[in-house]
Structure formats: structure tokens, C-alpha cells
């Protein structure tokens, strides 16, 4: 039962081919990795899926509905959530409000109801608050609930990003370099965390990463991009030994080891 499929996704920016015929099919429960040297087009693929970019060519289907060309908020409401490579939290807002905002889409009260603080609205506000606290506890940020999001440490901010993505109640979660800037211990915790939430929340996960420990450690299937084209795909073992992949990475000055 296909949850998601991208068919021949292509992105051309004024003559530059950023992504060339990217195709992907996902079933519920998959954990797929997207890797490649810097500038290979990985985030561009994400941006096409989430509606931030309109694909030049190609189709995206989610739960049997074509979503290519929809606005980002519409795509999120259909069940695809993402985190950002360079953290985009709501800096001046308290940590808990960063998560509560993701619940706003499900609000049934009208704005008059909110102003008058009707019983319905009060109940919904309580539920949003409670739900947000539960998620914050899962990412171990509950103690920081009323702190300004901008005051958190880098690692904490990354966790908050994941929490608020989860709050949108997604079926497909796109993580853009979630381990960036983490030390080995945090990285291991992150890997465990991703596996756990995938199970608890019945998620499908698509993950961009440079840290090969994470990719090889938890992904079931990996796609490799280079200059926009898919140069290889397969299980972690297959990718590790693929000469084209090795060449692509070594071609990058100071490329990370892929073993």
C-alpha cells in the first residue's frame, strides 16, 4: 500500500538542473535516507515535496492524492511534516507555544470564540497545551516550556523542531539533517529517538543526513544524489560498497568517510 510516491520530479532554476528525475515510493513504516555531497539537490527535493518549490516537471502523490503544486500549509495539513536544515524556530515565543502552534490547524473554535473564551475554546486551549507538554516530555524539553525558544542550546532547538513537526500529526516526516552539530552521544540518542517515534506514532520517515553513522545505522534503504541525479540506491551495505558513491563523495574536498 503506497503511502507516497514522487514520479520524475525535476527542478530547473533558470538553466540549472538542480534535481533530475527524482523518483521515490514509500510505504507506511519505511525509513529511507537521502544522501549526497553538498549541493546535490537533497533539500531541493524536500522543498518540492513540502510545497516550498513548484517542481518544473513531475508528480507527487500522497495517500493517492496529487499534491504537487499545493501550498506548504495545505501539504502539512494532509499529513507531511518537516524539520529545517537551518533551524527555523519561532525564536521569541516560549518553547511550548512553538509546539502549540502546530495544533492551531485543528482548532474548531472561531476567532470570536477565542476572544470571548467560550467553554469550547477553553477546552481546546487546554488540550493543545496538554498535548504540547506530552511532546515536550518526549523530547526532554518539558522543563523549558516557558523559556524563549531562542534561549535553548543548539541540540535542544533541534529537538524542539522535531517536537513541533510531530505536533502536526503527520504520517510522513521529513527530517533535514537532524544530527547536524551533534556529538556522538547525542547522535546515538537521536537515532534511538527516531526509531522510537517512528514506531509510537506510526510514521514513515525520509531523512537527509551527512552523518553516515545515522544513515547506515537506521535507514532501511538509501538513495544517493549527485548534481541532482540519482546515482545509486540500495540497502546500506550495497551503498557502502558502491564505487560511484565513493567517487562522488571523494570528489568533494574533505568529504566525510562513508564507512
Amino acid at each position: 500500500m503506497t503511502l507516497f510516491s514522487a514520479e520524475h520530479l525535476t527542478m530547473i532554476f533558470g538553466g540549472l538542473m538542480a534535481v533530475d528525475e527524482f523518483s521515490l515510493e514509500l510505504k507506511g513504516g519505511d525509513l529511507i535516507g537521502l544522501i549526497g555531497p553538498n549541493g546535490a539537490g537533497k533539500t531541493t527535493v524536500f522543498n518540492m515535496i513540502t510545497g516550498n518549490l513548484k517542481p518544473t516537471r513531475g508528480k507527487i502523490l500522497f495517500k493517492d492524492e496529487e499534491i504537487s503544486g499545493l501550498k506548504p500549509n495545505a501539504i502539512t495539513r494532509r499529513g507531511i511534516a518537516r524539520t529545517f536544515q537551518n533551524i527555523r524556530l519561532f525564536q521569541d515565543l516560549p518553547v511550548i507555544e512553538n509546539v502549540m502552534i502546530s495544533y492551531h490547524g485543528g482548532l474548531r473554535s472561531s476567532f470570536m470564540g477565542a476572544v470571548l473564551q467560550t467553554p469550547l475554546y477553553n477546552r481546546e486551549e487546554k488540550e493543545m497545551h496538554a498535548g504540547a507538554m506530552v511532546l515536550l516530555q518526549r523530547v526532554r524539553l518539558a522543563d523549558f516550556a516557558s523559556e524563549r525558544a531562542g534561549a535553548l542550546s543548539y541540540g535542544q532547538q533541534r529537538r524542539l523542531e522535531i517536537a513541533r513537526a510531530l505536533a502536526t500529526n503527520p504520517k510522513l516526516l521529513l527530517l533535514d539533517e537532524p544530527a547536524a552539530g551533534m556529538n556522538p552521544q547525542e547522535t546515538q540518542e537521536l537515532m534511538d529517538f527516531i526509531l522510537k517515534i517512528k514506531e509510537d506514532f506510526h510514521l514513515t520517515v525520509l531523512l537527509i543526513e551527512h552523518d553516515m553513522r545515522v544513515v547506515m545505522g537506521i535507514c532501511e534503504w538509501i538513495k544517493v544524489l549527485d548534481y541532482g541525479a540519482t546515482i545509486a540506491e540500495g540497502t546500506p551495505k550495497e551503498i557502502q560498497n558502491n564505487p560511484q558513491v565513493i567517487a562522488a563523495y571523494l570528489g568533494e574536498a574533505g568529504g566525510k568517510s562513508i564507512a
Partner: protein, 351 residues
């Protein structure tokens, strides 16, 4: 957070305020009453303007346009047919305006609805752009409104404007509406809808990614701002009893901009504080514009110096204290009590 205690304290303050207003009606001079009315209307305008600018983060320069629309709408509806005949000497006013004359309260509601509706229509082209462009487009709209008001003789009476309005606006109206505005806007800001607006301000791309339809909430902020600014315009018209296009230039928007920036963009409390400072400060600074003597030294007045000072204040605040007075913080009884306790504690330990 003790909700009951907060409610009691707020209730007591309101009673106090009304007691003061009642006393003022009987005992304050006309000059003082005018100042109080001005303060209330400016607070209303600043708090409404802050919704689209400070809370939702959309830098708009619209207030003079919306205040004008509200003022003219309300005035045209309350003026008696006789009054209209006298005023419209170049071109008679069109039907049905020439026969309509409705009660003040109704004219205010209609003024608010009309302005809100125009804000809604404007939103479609306006929110297609961001940042600097949003500012220029809304500024341009203000200009369009002014030019139109100057030219449609048969509706607005052109440059002659409207005279002889009944001074309906008294302390009850201005402060009453101010309290309603404060209540409505602070409730909206604290709610989930307010959060959505703040999210858009903080990072629109991220807000969209979390499912927020940013266009919808920008519209909401803009329309609500328009509604309240329009009614404030109607109140203003019936306070000064004469309106013409020259009253609604960018000057008004600029004053409101200074107020909300100095108060702290995004803080309703800040708007209240700085509006009061502005209205009373303006009056105090009037002294700078009149000639005065310090002992044997006679200083000639410098007209226009007030605005120079305000402009300098604005630039200084932007360079050195961008947060303004309150930053993004709001007033709460809890905070006040904490501050009082701490000060009390410090005084006691010194004794």
C-alpha cells in the same frame, strides 16, 4: 496564576477608572478633558495598529487611510441634511447621503464595518508582497485615499471637508471604546489566533510548514485593525467636529509608528504606556515651540521643533533600544505584584 484574583483586580481598576472619569467630567477643565479624550483615542489607534505591525509582523503604513475612511463614513452618516446642504456649496452631496442622518452609535458601527471591509479588499493585493513593499503599498493607499477625498466633491466635499459635526464624543465614548479595544485585542493576541499571527511574524516559512495559512491570518489582523481604526476615526471626527483631507496625512501614521515602536512592537501594554507618554509629552513639548524665559534669558519659540525631537527619538530608539519600553512583554497583575514585593523587600532590608 490566580485567575480570580486577577479578575477582581482588573474589575477594581475599571471601577477606579470610571470613578475618575466621572469626577473629571464635572471638575476637569475643557483643555484637560480634550487631552484625556486624545489619549484614549490614541491608545485605541496604537493598540489596533500594533496588531498588524507588531503582533503579525506585517509592516503596514495604513492607519491614516483607515482613520480617514472611518471618520468620513461616520461623519457623513450623522450629519443632518440641513447641515449637509450648508456645507456642500460647490457640489451637492449625492443621494442617499443627502437625506440620511443616523444615530452616532450606529454610524460608528457602520464606519467600523466599512473600513474593515475595505481593509479586507485591500488585503488581496497588499499581502502579495512583503517587507518594504508592503509598507510602500499601504503608504500609497493612504495617498490614494487622501487624493480621492480631495476630489470627490459630491461625497466628501473635497478640500473644504465636513464641518459642524455634533461633538458626540465624550469621555465615556472614548474610554469605553478604548477598553473594548484593549479587551478584544489582548484576548485575540493571547489566543491561538494570536499565536498564529506571532508565528507568521517570527518566521512565515516555518509557520506555513506547521500548517498555518499565513494569508488568512494576515487578513484577519489587517481587517481587525481596520475595523478598530475606522471606529476610532469616527470618534475622532466627532471630537474635533471638523474634518478635511489634510488631517489624514502620513503624519498621523508616523505618530502612531513612533508610539508603537517606542512602546515595544508587539506589546499591547507598551502601546498604552507610550501613547500616554506621547499625548502628554506632545503637550509638554509645546512649550519648546512657544517663546519662554529662563530668568533673564529669553528663548524664542521654535515651531516644528516637537516633530524634530520625535523623529530623533525614533531614530535613537531604532539604533540603541530597538526593543522599546516593554519589548514583547505584557502587563500582568502577577508581574506587578512581583515588582512591588521586590521593591518592598529592598526597602525593608535597608531599614
Amino acid at each position: 496564576m490566580n485567575k480570580t484574583r486577577d479578575r477582581i483586580l482588573t474589575g477594581l481598576s475599571l471601577i477606579g477608572l470610571f470613578a475618575f472619569l466621572y469626577w473629571a467630567k464635572g471638575n476637569a477643565t475643557e483643555y484637560q478633558i480634550r487631552l484625556l479624550n486624545n489619549a484614549a483615542i490614541f491608545i485605541t489607534l496604537a493598540v489596533s495598529y500594533n496588531l498588524i505591525n507588531g503582533i503579525c509582523g506585517q509592516f503596514s503604513l495604513e492607519p491614516n487611510a483607515f482613520v480617514a475612511i472611518g471618520a468620513y463614513t461616520s461623519a457623513l452618516l450623522t450629519m443632518s441634511p440641513a447641515e449637509k446642504q450648508i456645507s456642500f456649496i460647490i457640489e451637492p452631496i449625492i443621494w442617499p447621503l443627502n437625506v440620511i442622518s443616523i444615530p452616532f452609535w450606529l454610524s460608528l458601527i457602520i464606519a467600523g464595518v466599512v473600513t474593515g471591509f475595505l481593509a479586507f479588499l485591500m488585503g488581496f493585493p497588499v499581502f502579495r508582497v512583503r517587507g518594504d513593499y508592503l509598507a510602500i503599498v499601504t503608504l500609497g493607499f493612504g495617498e490614494v485615499v487622501r487624493v480621492v477625498a480631495n476630489n470627490i466633491q459630491s461625497i466628501t466635499n473635497g478640500p473644504l471637508g465636513l464641518k459642524g459635526l455634533v461633538p458626540h464624543t465624550n469621555l465615556w465614548w472614548s474610554f469605553g471604546f478604548m477598553i473594548f479595544t484593549l479587551f478584544f485585542i489582548s484576548r485575540l493576541t493571547k489566543s491561538s489566533f494570536g499565536r498564529a499571527m506571532k508565528a507568521i511574524r517570527e518566521d512565515e516559512v516555518a509557520a506555513e510548514a506547521m500548517g498555518i495559512r499565513s494569508f488568512r491570518y494576515k487578513m484577519m489582523a489587517f481587517t481587525v485593525s481596520g475595523f478598530f481604526e475606522g471606529i476610532a476615526g469616527g470618534l475622532l471626527a466627532h471630537l474635533i467636529t471638523t474634518i478635511s483631507p489634510v488631517l489624514f496625512t502620513f503624519f498621523l501614521t508616523f505618530n502612531l509608528l513612533i508610539i508603537i515602536v517606542v512602546g515595544g512592537l508587539g506589546s499591547t501594554t507598551g502601546c498604552v504606556i507610550s501613547s500616554v507618554l506621547f499625548v502628554f509629552g506632545s503637550e509638554a513639548l509645546r512649550a519648546v515651540e512657544e517663546p519662554f524665559s529662563i530668568g533673564p534669558v529669553h528663548v524664542p519659540g521654535i515651531p516644528g521643533m516637537r516633530m524634530v525631537i520625535f523623529a530623533i527619538i525614533l531614530v535613537m530608539v531604532m539604533i540603541f533600544a530597538r526593543q522599546g519600553i516593554m519589548g514583547r512583554g505584557e502587563f500582568s497583575w502577577q508581574r506587578l505584584i512581583d515588582v512591588l514585593r521586590r521593591t518592598g523587600g529592598r526597602l525593608r532590608s535597608r531599614a
